[in-house]
């Protein structure tokens, strides 16, 4: 199966290991993976802040970059969720409406792709430790991907998965929210950090680096010793 990797700009620039792990997992389950160099950002920072025209410029760039891809797979529920919104955003644009629909239909978040498209629920990895999972808001509510990451995690040898209290609550990142409303954001992430600590897990696992850099950055500031890892790291450990 031919897959184009959507690294997300965040993982491309700040967290290259997340994209590397995603690539290697896809190859391990038998995909032929390419990486279109023309890709940039899904456009979410501008779109969610109300800058529709600016957002559309990055969205068009993304559609161009992946025009010839069969599948587009990325390690972020939030960014992939954004790609899935393109048809709504370009519905009234005769030049892009059809392309937006075609594009959105072939986009998948990595755990969703593994479980729903590849039919893989056990990637054969081993990872020793007590972990708790933060389900990101956009992944579960916009993309509707809830069980897939947990199914994969449960099948990793050595993983002890414990529930995160109030898992349904947002961590307070919200993109530009974190800098436009820093005071509220801090309260939200502090509460999340408390809940993570309550689980006594050694690792906080998530499928979105946006949330993880928020929670991880806060826990480091508070001197809490919980390691923050993207789910692809666990799925790519043998």
């Amino acid at each position: 199966m031919k897959v184009s990797l959507f690294s997300t700009c965040l993982s491309d620039i700040l967290f290259a290991d997340v994209a590397k792990n995603t690539l290697e997992i896809l190859e391990r389950v038998g995909c032929e993976v390419d990486y279109p160099m023309e890709q940039t950002c899904c456009g979410q920072p501008a779109y969610n802040s109300g800058y529709l025209q600016e957002a559309k410029q990055s969205m068009k760039q993304m559609m161009k970059a992946f025009k010839h891809s069969e599948y587009v797979v990325g390690p972020s529920g939030s960014c992939v969720g954004m790609l899935k919104e393109y048809p709504k955003i370009f519905a009234d644009d005769p030049e892009w409406a059809e392309e937006a629909k075609r594009f959105a239909a072939k986009c998948y978040e990595i755990t969703e792709f593994l479980v729903d498209v590849m039919g893989v629920t056990d990637v054969g990895s081993t990872f020793k430790g007590k972990v708790t999972f933060h389900s990101s808001c956009h992944m579960k509510r916009i993309l509707g991907v809830k069980e897939q990451p947990k199914t994969l995690l449960r099948n990793v040898k050595g993983v002890e998965l414990v529930d995160l209290p109030m898992e349904e609550d947002c961590c307070g990142f919200g993109g530009t929210f974190s800098v436009k409303n820093p005071v509220i954001s801090q309260e939200m992430v502090s509460e999340k950090s408390r809940h993570v600590a309550e689980t006594e897990a050694e690792y906080l696992v998530g499928a979105d680096m946006g949330c993880l850099m928020n929670i991880g950055g806060r826990m480091r500031r508070e001197g809490k010793n919980v390691k923050v890892v993207h789910i692809t790291e666990i799925l790519n450990t043998h």
Binding site: C9, P45, Y47, Y51, Q57, S178, V179, I184, E187
Partner: protein, 475 residues
């Protein structure tokens, strides 16, 4: 008339909320109860998503045919001996009710809980013509005694704990008992009973008006609406023009969604229906019944991309699900409609000038949209508001506009993007220690005020990938 609570700036309101430990504890425990209640009830009913879909269809259909159903309602209320008044503005609605009060020479007005009368500021208007207005919903009564505005649309005194309520009762009503809920409720009941008996006029809101029969239905747990509508000789119901259903059948669906989504109840203790005035040969009901249908900006929302905001049945499930509301409380929104639904409808009803921060008081986590029993896409409406603030109202900060222009250039040009991917690590080098930035420059400052920032791990993924391809070709 304004739905605004005061003139305190947004930042100060947020700060006040965050520093109010009592309020935050009360809100957080209530949210927990309501959220669990809603989920338990949804599971017990089964097929919750289908019920939500049905609720959404009913609201969509009704709003699309609002003129038809309002006419039908009006005809049926008149047929049952009631008077109907369509008020375009808050002032018109208040004036109409004031005229009745004057004509009846009413001294005392008892009220059942109603958000729309809060919206139009009816209490103040009636006090201007010398009437004593008494709120009979327990939460509203507490707030009235304390001269405090509601912070939640279903449980208005949510931000108060029982010690605070005891103090209010003691100070304003000479209460000397304990702070146990039972004892305080019994005290309130005794006090309110006198008001019910002495009232000349009863005023209610409306949960659902039934077009086919001209009935106004009210959903309560305390039964106070029952008293308000059966003891005074004159009853006035005030409704937002969208609070209507075609028939009892749709009402049954929506009321089941409302009570489950609001407080996790299958049904409330009381559902009161008023069908006009007492007709000849009937043994009960008020001598005179008035229905005031309030527009106050609603018809301007009809036909716009915000129309579904009028689907709201005021259950507050979005408020209970909202993690932002959880930390700042209702008063921080500075509107009688707080939380996600408040952030959507307040700017629609009253413009952006005083409320431009509200659409940004959300992480867009969509917990509100998920909780809404009639499927209002609340977080999408918040994004639409932001677009209007940026593109039409031109109220966005200049620095942000510049940054977004830069974003568009960066993300639509692979060459510029590539360069930034290469430069990110060296550029952030001076601020980086052990791979982390604790005190960032420029836009990172607000971030690192509360948390550390991760510096780029090493080379970008794309650089690594290019190298990998090259290595593959040469090996």
């Amino acid at each position: 008339m304004s739905i605004k609570l005061g003139e305190v700036p947004y930042k100060d309101r947020v700060q006040t909320g965050i520093e109010d430990d009592f309020m935050r504890q009360a809100v957080s425990s209530a949210q927990g109860r309501f959220r669990n209640g809603r989920l338990t009830q949804a599971a017990e009913l089964g097929n919750w998503e289908d019920w939500r879909e049905l609720g959404s269809e009913i609201r969509t259909h009704t709003l699309q045919n609002l003129d038809y159903y309002l006419k039908q309602l009006s005809d049926n209320v008149a047929r049952r001996g009631g008077h109907v008044f369509f008020a375009e503005t808050a002032e018109e609605a208040n004036q109409y009710v004031k005229n009745i009060i004057k004509k009846k020479q009413a001294k005392k007005v008892v009220k059942a809980k109603s958000m729309v009368t809060e919206e139009i500021g009816l209490n103040k208007a009636l006090e201007e013509v010398g009437a004593e207005v008494v709120e009979s919903d327990l939460g509203e009564w507490i707030l009235q005694l304390d001269e405090d505005p509601p912070s939640h649309i279903v449980t208005p005194a949510l931000h108060k704990n029982r010690q605070q309520i005891r103090e209010t009762f003691a100070k304003k009503k000479g209460y000397t008992g304990s702070d146990t809920p039972e004892e305080m409720a019994a005290f309130a009941r005794e006090q309110l009973r006198q008001d019910f008996l002495a009232a000349d006029v009863g005023v209610t809101g409306c949960n659902f008006a039934i077009a086919e029969s001209g009935a106004v239905t009210l959903v309560t747990n305390e039964g106070n609406a029952e008293m308000v509508t059966s003891l005074p000789d004159t009853v006035i119901s005030v409704m937002g023009m969208e609070r209507i259903v075609p028939t009892w059948e749709e009402m049954e669906v929506l009321v089941g969604l409302l009570t489950r989504a609001a407080v996790g109840q299958k049904l409330t203790s009381y559902i009161t229906a008023i069908t006009g005035a007492r007709l000849e040969g009937e043994i009960d009901g008020p001598e005179e019944f008035h229905l005031v249908v309030v527009d106050n900006g609603r018809s301007k929302i009809l036909g716009t991309e915000f129309q579904s905001a009028l689907h709201c049945i005021r259950c507050a499930a979005c408020i209970n699900a909202c993690p932002v509301y959880r930390h700042i409380g209702g008063h921080a929104y500075n509107s009688i409609y707080p939380g996600p639904i408040g952030a959507v409808i307040t700017p629609l009803l009253e413009g952006y000038d005083d409320h431009k921060e509200l659409p940004y008081a959300s992480t867009l986590c969509a917990a509100c949209t998920e909780a809404c029993p009639v499927k209002i896409p609340l977080h999408e409406h918040l994004i639409r508001h932001r677009q209007i603030i940026v593109e039409q109202e031109k109220k966005a900060p200049t620095a942000e506009k510049l940054m977004m222009k830069g974003f568009a250039k960066w993300s639509s040009s692979p060459a510029i993007y590539n360069l930034s991917a290469k430069m990110a690590k060296p550029a952030l080098g001076p601020w980086t220690k052990d791979g982390m930035i604790e005190n960032g420059p420029g836009p990172l400052k607000d971030w690192t005020g509360a948390r550390d920032f991760y510096a780029p791990q090493g080379q970008s993924f794309r650089a690594w990938f290019k190298q990998r391809q090259k290595d593959g070709e040469t090996s």
